[in-house]
Amino acid sequence: MGKLIDENGIRLDGRRWDELRPIKIEIGVIKNADGSAYIEFGRNKIIAAVYGPREAHPKHLALPDRAIVRCRYHMAPFSTEERKSPQPSRREIEISLVLRRAMESAIFLEEYPRSIIDVFVEVLQSDGGSRCASITAVSAALADSGISMRDLIVGCAVGKIDGQIVLDLSDHEDKEGEGDMPVAYMPNLDKIVLLQFDGIFSEEEFKKAIDLAILGNKKVYEILKRALIEKYFGTVDEK
């Protein structure tokens, strides 16, 4: 028996291998923004807000045939165990980049030529899988803004702990485990739009991990759908 999964297959926080942490999504939390969302994913607490599409400033940034997307992923200094410098780290710059690419695969950029879409992600409290929680919040905020999107995007990580492939690593499992693999996914189009991993995976483990990530993402999708429907259509199902 390992140190992260007990003899009954239960992880330190009481979950089984294929269980997600609790997820809560709220839409429209930042009134000034054109679209926004708040997500709690385990102990992650993250706000995503969208401004635009709006005129590109400075103008030379604009493209004649489509919108450009800017993304800033930022962690609050109090979001981590030890205070994090407010200056953007290399990690934050890289996450901003991979989040932006994931969004670009969903947003219908051609509909908004010569404009800019600004997406801001602020991590108020971080836990394992914060980029996956972020992309889910971003896609909720984009849908809230009414920007045309080919599909929603959801994110959820998989990883390897005690030699086993499990869903959705916590902070502790990420640190102590053998591998972490954040995956973001467009559920209707069945496309992977964000994939990074580190750790040691055999080819078989890798494939198993991808399939588990897709399964987990489908669960996150149900939660995201429910949040959007609740916000836009109320809880009552009127006939």
């Binding site: 635009g52 005129e55 969903a106 030529p113 404009s115 009414g146 599909d151 109320g234």
Partner: protein, 233 residues
């Protein structure tokens, strides 16, 4: 009078989210707010979809204002140069009102001063006369009911919900106007000017906020009536 058998098409409104499948073999160009993937028709927005035989109509519940030629809009002068004013029309793109539209063909920047007509901060009712993907929208104020608006309170509503505020043949707007003793100037760009006594303006603004929140509900008209009767006295 109608004779014979009649097939009544039941209009079904379905809630949709981006990526939802609307039709699995759709022929022709995709209607607004949808896109095609092979022959599949998918949604680009959070909204309501009406499917009637081959007709698919998606009513989005959020989204920026995209200018269309002939739209009646309400805008704010934000800048000007010797030849035109820049007008914020609550859209992605800034609109332009050419000085010739106001001063006529014999306009010359030497003899006419743009500030004599409109100043920065002025609110205008205008119509879009040209717009495409490559050029900013151009406005005109040369028509009945267009030009500077001198009184009233601007209220915003999601542009996609403006049709709900207007209602069938203007019914919803008429209810609000009569019960609050106000006049509504409704821009299709999501800006509304409410004119009238201040209590009326406050109540009309409340009704517009209710439309913002409940636009998706079929019972909206009843809810507005209820609000106006309850608070309008």
């Amino acid at each position: 009078m109608l004779h014979g058998s009649e097939i009544i098409m039941v209009l079904v409104r379905t809630k949709v989210l981006p990526g939802d499948l609307l039709h699995d073999s759709y022929q022709g160009q995709p209607p607004p707010h949808t896109y095609k993937l092979g022959n599949k028709l998918l949604s680009l927005k959070v909204g309501l979809v009406e499917i009637e035989g081959k007709e698919v109509k998606l009513i989005p519940l959020a989204g920026p204002y995209i200018p269309r030629v002939n739209d009646f809009v309400i805008g704010k002068i934000i800048d000007f140069d010797a030849f035109s004013w820049d007008v914020d029309i609550n859209s992605i793109y800034t609109a332009h009102l050419p000085a010739q539209d106001v001063f006529g063909r014999d306009f010359s920047p030497q003899t006419h001063s743009l500030t004599s007509q409109f100043k920065v901060g002025d609110i205008l009712a205008a119509k879009i006369i040209s717009y495409d993907r490559t050029k900013d929208p151009v406005l005109t104020v040369r028509d009945h009911g267009l030009g500077k608006i001198v009184n009233g309170e601007p209220v915003k509503l999601s542009p996609s919900k403006i049709p709900r505020l207007i209602g069938k043949k203007g019914s919803m707007a008429k209810i609000i106007e009569s019960k609050t003793k106000t006049k509504l100037i409704i821009g299709q760009n999501g800006v509304i000017i409410v004119q009238g006594p201040s209590e009326g303006i406050v109540l009309a603004a409340k009704a517009i906020r209710l439309i913002e929140e409940k636009a998706h509900l079929p019972s909206l008209t009843n809810m507005i009536n209820e609000l106006l009767t309850r608070e309008g006295g």
